[in-house]
């Protein structure tokens, strides 16, 4: 069976789940779906849980369709997906930590988010007291002569989020890197339960600071589709404007920061100036440099006035004037190319298997962009290209960012030219329902699944960052590179800690 609709037709549909179908399935169908993932028939968008059920979100590329299958687990167990499809392993470990549901046949049962200091176990499932002093975390082994281990983090040498990296190296060459994450786990999924929509939207905007627009947008769209309301047209266009400005700011910052990690501070300084200009324009137009809390369920909290349009026009002109010279420098500096070309190469097959989103996937031949594949307003009415490369190295990831900066500039021009006038916010009607949204952030696709109770309170909210499927790939690409190239490879991925740990 290699067609998603076959699995769906055998399950029991859950009513009022929008915009994609959700069906309850048997353990047999669950296993079939997992096998379909392993065989490459579809990709895994998410694996999540609640107290006594697990949910698998699948994407079928051939038909560009999304579907959720759910399995009740009254006995607290479900068949492991990670045992056949590696991208699910960390998701299963998280489900085990937070909900206490056991994946039968799992290949890795070590805790992932739970570092043994919460004071409770399974905080989102059947809560129990911790079993006492937890044993030390068992890092994976690497055997051989003359190997040494380098522990790094969670407090790093720069201004970076916390996470731990365990390198095993032979001289300068990395033979194994293992990540340990979870340090930024704030329990957002738990805080969401029972929250009203306003508080929940503010929480969603604080999952990952560099993607605050993207998360607010994904959450708002999920809430709106759950209660089946459409927002005024102008709100859609304002949202897209903010999303592109966020993409612009992050890509500009990243291009500079990657070059900085190759000891080329000149690019960092110039890109930093352009990034700051985007943030200042956002501040002038919308009252917040990162555009936080501007997108709300039901529409927008701020509008763009004519002086604001002029500010953004000036910003576009400034970037167009300065950016091409920087691209030329990047392209023509041999010492920089020497570091980025061929470093940290991600195999396209691996990118495909992990359904890597964003520039990580698109630099390794995986053509996926939620704005294009599963379009949402107003992207269906906008012209843009999705850049694609197959080399998969640090250089390719830089070039994808460069091309995306150019695309975002073109998109912002179109948005400003065609933005309709009118209202920007409609109320969110009372009532419940289930909604999902997939939104293309600068880093990749962010997925939000939401269930609203009849009272309007959040019953369940799951937010999946693209980093879930990018972090494991970073472990793969660093193998065989030298330790000194790790910052460069890491920055070219720029995975989110906060978005992943939640």
């Amino acid at each position: 069976m290699a067609v998603l609709s076959d699995i769906l037709s055998q399950g029991v549909p859950v009513p009022a789940h929008r915009p994609w179908p959700r069906v309850m399935v048997s353990a047999r169908l669950w296993k079939l779906a997992a096998q379909g993932l392993a065989d490459g028939h579809w990709s895994l968008l998410d694996l999540s849980a609640e107290a006594a059920a697990v949910h698998m979100t699948l994407f079928e590329e051939r038909t560009t369709s999304v579907a959720v299958i759910s399995l009740d687990c009254p006995k607290g167990r479900f068949p492991s997906v990670g045992s056949v499809h590696a991208p699910a392993i960390r998701l299963e470990r998280t489900i085990q930590d937070l909900f206490g549901l056991i994946a039968d046949g799992a290949v890795d049962t070590r805790p992932w988010m739970d570092h043994g200091v919460w004071g409770v176990r399974h905080p989102l499932g059947e809560v129990t007291e911790p079993a006492g002093e937890s044993a030390g975390y068992a890092f994976l082994a690497a055997e051989g002569e003359s190997l040494h281990r380098i522990p790094v983090g969670p407090v790093h040498a720069g201004i970076i989020e916390p996470g731990h990296f365990r390198f095993t190296a032979n001289g300068e060459t990395v033979v194994r890197l293992e990540e340990r994450l979870g340090y930024v786990h704030r329990g957002i999924e738990g805080l969401m339960r029972g929250a009203d929509i306003g508080r929940a939207a503010r929480l969603a905007g604080r999952v990952s600071g560099d993607s605050t627009v993207c998360y607010a947008l994904a959450f708002a769209r999920a809430a709106e589709v759950a209660v089946d309301v459409d927002v005024p047209a102008r709100a859609h266009w304002l949202r897209a404007l903010m999303a592109e400005m966020e993409r612009l700011a992050n890509h500009l910052g990243d291009i500079g920061a990657i070059c900085n990690d190759a000891a080329f501070a000149f690019m960092h300084a110039h890109c930093g100036v352009l990034r700051e200009r985007v943030l200042r324009a956002a501040d002038t137009c919308f009252g917040h440099r990162l555009m936080r809390d501007c997108i709300v369920p039901g529409g927008m909290a701020v509008d763009l006035d004519d002086p604001g349009v002029a500010v953004i026009d000036a910003l576009m002109a400034e970037i167009r004037r300065r950016f091409p010279a920087l691209v030329k420098i990047y392209d023509n500096t041999a010492s920089l190319q020497d570091r980025t070309v061929g470093a940290g190469t991600l195999d396209p097959a691996l990118a495909q298997r992990f359904a890597a989103g964003g520039f990580v996937g698109r630099a390794s031949g995986r053509l996926f962009d939620a704005r294009r594949m599963i379009p949402y307003a107003p992207y269906g009415q906008l012209r843009f290209e999705v850049p694609l490369l197959v080399e998969g190295d640090v250089n390719a990831r830089v070039w994808i960012r460069i091309r995306e900066v150019e695309q975002s500039l073109a998109l912002i021009d179109q948005i400003l030219a065609a933005m309709p006038a009118g209202d920007i916010c409609t109320g969110l009607p009372a009532g419940g329902g289930e909604g999902m949204a997939l939104v293309e952030g600068f880093r990749g696709d962010v997925l939000v699944s939401l269930r609203l109770g009849e009272s309007g309170k959040i019953e369940r909210c799951r937010m999946r960052d693209p980093s879930w499927f990018q972090w494991p790939l970073l472990e793969a690409v660093i193998e065989g590179n030298i330790v000194a190239d790790f910052p460069l490879c890491n920055k070219s991925f720029n995975c989110s800690y906060a978005g992943h740990d939640l």
Partner: protein, 169 residues
């Protein structure tokens, strides 16, 4: 590259380019910082940043302090790689339980005299994350705090002002 460098020689410095109120603010800050910093620490203050569970919003703005507009180092302030080199700990986030030990160890590794600045609304009292099973709820629950800088996230000017008021205490 040569043409960009030449442009850099002849263009006005970006540090004076920001909008008027900001520029005045920054210039005033620069004067104050010079005097106070000289008195206390001989023109220099080394800052170690610790992310204790922030959403990364504060980090983005702390990063911005180093760009050409704010150019933190002209005040003798700089970010250092190790707590052992630091005079000030800049702590962001509501302090997740998973980061508590790392924060304590970083604090203990910082030589006295030292100051702790809690940066951002959630570093003050946990903010929106307060009450979660996974957070302590503010930096002062774990280590003594000398100053809070509010904001979600505080913008670079607010961060600079915060550093100033710390030194004037």
């Amino acid at each position: 590259m040569r043409s960009l460098l030449l442009q850099g020689l002849f263009r006005r410095p970006l540090t004076e380019a920001p909008p008027v109120p900001d520029a005045a603010d920054l210039a005033a800050l620069a004067d104050h910082l010079d005097i106070a910093a000289r008195r206390r620490l001989g023109r220099s203050l080394s800052i170690r940043h610790v992310d204790a569970g922030s959403c990364n919003g504060c980090e983005l703005e702390v990063h911005a302090l180093n760009n050409a507009f704010y150019d933190l180092e002209r005040y003798g302030l700089r970010f250092v790689a190790s707590p052992r080199h630091a005079d000030v700990l800049f702590v962001t986030g509501p302090v997740t339980r998973n980061m508590r030990e790392a924060l304590e160890r970083t604090y203990n590794a910082t030589p006295s005299p030292k100051w702790v600045v809690a940066v951002g609304d959630c570093a003050a009292d946990g903010g929106l994350f307060g009450g979660s099973y996974a957070v302590e709820g503010g930096v002062s629950r774990v280590i003594p705090v000398d100053l809070h800088i509010t904001g979600c996230p505080p913008n670079p000017t607010a961060l600079l002002k915060g550093l100033l008021s710390l030194m004037e205490r």
